[in-house]
Amino acid sequence: MIDTFLTHYNYYAVVALLGIGVYMLVESSNLVKKVIGMNVFQTGIFLFFVTAAYRSGAGPAVVHEGGGPYVSPLPHVLILTAIVVGVSLTAVALALIVRIYAEYGTLDEEVLRELDHD
């Protein structure tokens, strides 16, 4: 148990981030906190990719004489793309929240639901 923790603590962090993200998303009624939860959830996934690419003793993938073994650069590149996607999503989400706040004057999901029913 302690052994796996010491060698796999990154994966525990992944699970924790995913869990915290989903919990914030589901449990908080504040729209901005929901978006933050979404970001934390995505960060968990980013950490998973980067951790999976780790190889102990390996160098960066710049091929040279006697340089191996190398770390696969692919997951890092994927995550750079995914981060860009995540930033765009956050921007759109915040823009929508600004419009909702301007219209209803609240960021609370419960209040919004009541207003919608009236």
Binding site: F41, E103, Y104
Partner: protein
């Protein structure tokens, strides 16, 4: 030229999508012509590509010279060619509707074309991570489009769509990560082989399957992951609901089929029968629950939205059965549903503009008030229920035949019951339109308004023509089943005939 078509179907709408904003700085109202020219080009490209593929087999394209499986590969085979033509044709048709219906902002046309680019990319890609990127491009464009609706409630619906949709796409990304960890590759064709080596029943592969299919099921809006969908469809602008209801879930369902048959393959179902049972169960629950929720609605657009939950259950059930007939049926129903549901949403937009009716009760006597639109709705309703020879009948017929062949009798029962359930909610609408007198309150405008004339809000002949064209297509498309059968035979390895 034609050898570059797989990348051009993605690049053309992206470039076209930048132009309305650029030219919007100098002149007004250039958005529609730019979008029209772009989508005409897109349609020509898609049809040319489809004819090449049907004659000469799958076309593969490697952008930037990074050879597959290391680089990203674009692959267009018969299955994707059908969906590409569908995307181009439907988006062109909806654009004709948008000419009068609006919204007229330049940014609307930019997002419209970006959505087409994302959908085409999802269809043409041969790489699971690239699919994620296009899934999010599609999503971003769709969230923006939904938010451009008539009221602020559209922004709330769009935010809900964004949050749920992002979780779906993130689950898909996590699944792709598991696949990468299990096999070290992301190329679909390459994965089909390496997954078999890694072992279909390994925990990594099973988890990847669950996460990826679950993520896409959110985008398809299968019950109980459909919660974003009715609000998004009902609160969005009519043009947007027509486009989104016709295409977005359709292409997500296509992507799910692509994963099933090109990445996991039927060998996975053979090795892990529980995965097939699980998918079939979700689909069957979706069929029944979607129909029941649709029966309970009083708002016509929400009823249509819940009907989509049920119809996509049918499509996914067809794919999950995995025999050739079932896949043909699922593909026919996928295309048919896009045309029928798009046509129905376009028609409800016309009805609302002309009479202000949104609720089922307000549709009373529509047969007299707007005869052509009402007739279009009626044809589309019966096509959806599955009256022969319409496309809805052909699709369901093939799915049922496939399910019988595979011996999944409980699914056969659900499929047959689904027809009755579909009839249950659509018959109410039909009855209101033709057999209920218009309410006395509306006698002020009970005089029949000629279609294409001036009602409360302008409705152009073109908008009505789109509905009529969809109704005609819904009847005629059923005849394309033999062609689909040939395509599926060429491109998909299925369960053998028993």
């Amino acid at each position: 030229m034609i050898e570059h078509a797989p990348v051009l179907v993605i690049a053309l709408p992206i470039v076209g999508g930048a132009l309305p904003l650029l030219f919007g700085l100098f002149a007004d109202r250039l958005g529609w012509p730019i979008a029209a020219v772009t989508l005409l080009g897109q349609t020509v490209l898609a049809v040319a590509l489809a004819t090449t593929v049907v004659d000469g087999g799958a076309v593969s394209y490697v952008p930037g010279g990074f050879v597959a499986p290391y680089g990203i590969e674009l692959v267009v085979d018969g299955l994707s060619a059908v969906v590409l033509v569908l995307i181009a044709a439907v988006s062109l048709g909806v654009l004709a509707y948008a000419r009068r219906a609006g919204p007229h902002a330049d940014s609307f046309y930019a997002q419209y074309l970006l959505l087409v680019a994302g959908l085409s990319g999802m269809t043409a890609t041969g790489d699971v991570f690239n699919l994620y990127v296009f899934l999010e491009i599609t999503g971003l464009a769709a969230y923006g489009l939904v938010a451009s609706g008539r009221s602020a409630s559209a922004a709330v619906a769009a935010l809900k769509y964004l949050i749920v949709g992002t979780i779906g796409a993130s689950l898909y990304l996590l699944g792709a990560g598991y696949l990468l960890a299990a096999t070290g590759t992301l190329n679909m064709a390459d994965l089909a082989g390496t997954l078999a080596e890694a072992g279909y029943d390994s925990t990594l592969v099973l988890t990847a399957f669950g996460l990826m299919i679950g993520g896409l099921a959110v985008k398809v809006a299968l019950y109980p992951l459909h919660t974003w969908q009715p609000d998004a469809y009902a609160d969005a602008h009519d043009t947007v609901s027509t486009l989104v209801a016709a295409l977005v879930s359709t292409v997500a369902a296509y992507a799910l089929a692509r994963l099933l048959f090109s990445v996991f393959t039927v060998g996975f179902f053979d090795a892990v029968p529980i995965a097939q049972t699980a998918l079939l169960t979700v689909a069957a629950v979706s069929i029944v629950a979607g129909s029941l929720l649709a029966v309970a609605q009083s708002d016509v657009q929400r009823m249509l939205a819940y009907s989509s939950v049920s119809q996509f259950g049918l499509v996914i059930a067809g794919f999950a059965v995995g025999t050739q007939a079932a896949i043909v049926g699922a593909l026919v129903h996928l295309v048919g549903h896009a045309v029928m549901k798009g046509g129905l949403f376009a028609a409800t937009g016309i009805v609302e503009r002309r009479t202000g009716a949104r609720r089922l009760a307000e549709y009373a006597g529509l047969g007299e008030r707007a005869p052509v639109t009402a007739a279009g709705i009626a044809v589309l309703l019966f096509a959806m229920v599955g009256v022969p020879p319409a496309v809805g009948f052909v699709g369901k017929w093939y799915i049922v035949v496939g399910a019988v062949e595979a011996g999944t009798w409980s699914l056969v029962v659900v499929l047959l019951a689904s027809t009755l359930l579909t009839l249950a909610y659509f018959a109410r609408l039909f009855e209101r339109m033709y057999f209920t007198a218009p309410p006395s309150a509306s006698t002020t405008d009970a005089t029949p308004v000629p279609d294409g004339g001036n009602g409360r809000e302008a409705v152009s002949t073109g908008m009505v023509a789109v509905v009529v064209a969809a109704a005609l297509l819904a009847v005629v498309l059923g005849g394309t089943a033999p062609l689909v059968e040939q395509i599926v035979e060429q491109t998909v390895s299925t369960f053998p005939h028993p």
